[in-house]
Symmetry: C2
Subunit: 146 residues, 2 copies
């Protein structure tokens, strides 16, 4: 019986993971190195900065994060004075989370870095290939949800 020919270097989950790690590591310098934030904290900040007030559950759904991680990230951002909680009249179990002015300043600075980094990645690939990459990744993510 012939050997199964498996090409690890062309295995999509492996390539995806290596590329995600390489890009993530490079950008982590922006939030981890400069602000001492974790990735989950950066994602919470990014969602609140981008979309305004959200509940923790909404952040979990949009960011594909666990509620435990979000709970701890919210706590850390709150202690830092970057985030406030407001009671929701319509459901007293949930809270509306939003950024303080200081939190919004941090978001603005990090969003600007993110835009620069995204542009750097896209320039490395060429705009056409980068746009195609984003489209294919989105398709993969969508397909996995089913």
């Amino acid at each position: 019986m012939a050997e199964t020919q498996f090409d690890l270097e062309g295995f999509l989950p492996y390539l995806l993971n290596q590329a995600a790690e390489a890009a993530g590591r490079e950008f982590a310098a922006a939030y981890r190195g400069r602000y001492g934030m974790t990735r989950t904290q950066w994602r919470v900040l990014a969602h609140l900065g981008r979309f305004g007030a959200l509940t923790a559950t909404e952040i979990c759904r949009r960011a594909m994060e666990e509620k435990t991680g979000v709970s701890r990230a919210v706590q850390a951002l709150e202690e830092r004075g970057w985030l406030v909680r407001d009671a929701l009249a319509e459901d007293r179990r949930a809270e509306a989370l939003s950024l303080t002015p200081a939190g919004h300043d941090a978001y603005q600075a990090l969003a600007a870095e993110a835009i620069r980094f995204d542009a750097l990645l896209r320039s490395r690939l060429g705009e056409e290939r980068a746009a195609g990459l984003a489209e294919v990744l989105t398709a993969l993510i969508g397909a996995a949800r089913d």
Copy 2:
């Protein structure tokens, strides 16, 4: 001053991470669910199965893994009877790692699953887009090494 317009849903590191997590989670069922292996153990098994005897340092370089993780994965595979160490005459600090027949059987089974899963992903995307994706990811990984 205008707000910085940052589109989190188009941010490449974010898309790469979501896609890698989705694909990785789906394939992890093969090695974690069925064999109780960690991802690092699967990667060590895959490299030894694919390339034959390697030293730990060579696995680290090829698989982009930390030497501590590889050291522990090698230990676990050894205890399981899937891997043996052989002294290297030319450098007694290093060891040649290779799979036992049982280890090779496990590799064959997992490699076959990997081939099936890769084919599934490629069929979801279409062969042309999948080939393009692999090429662009390889370029990204290569660019990040510099």
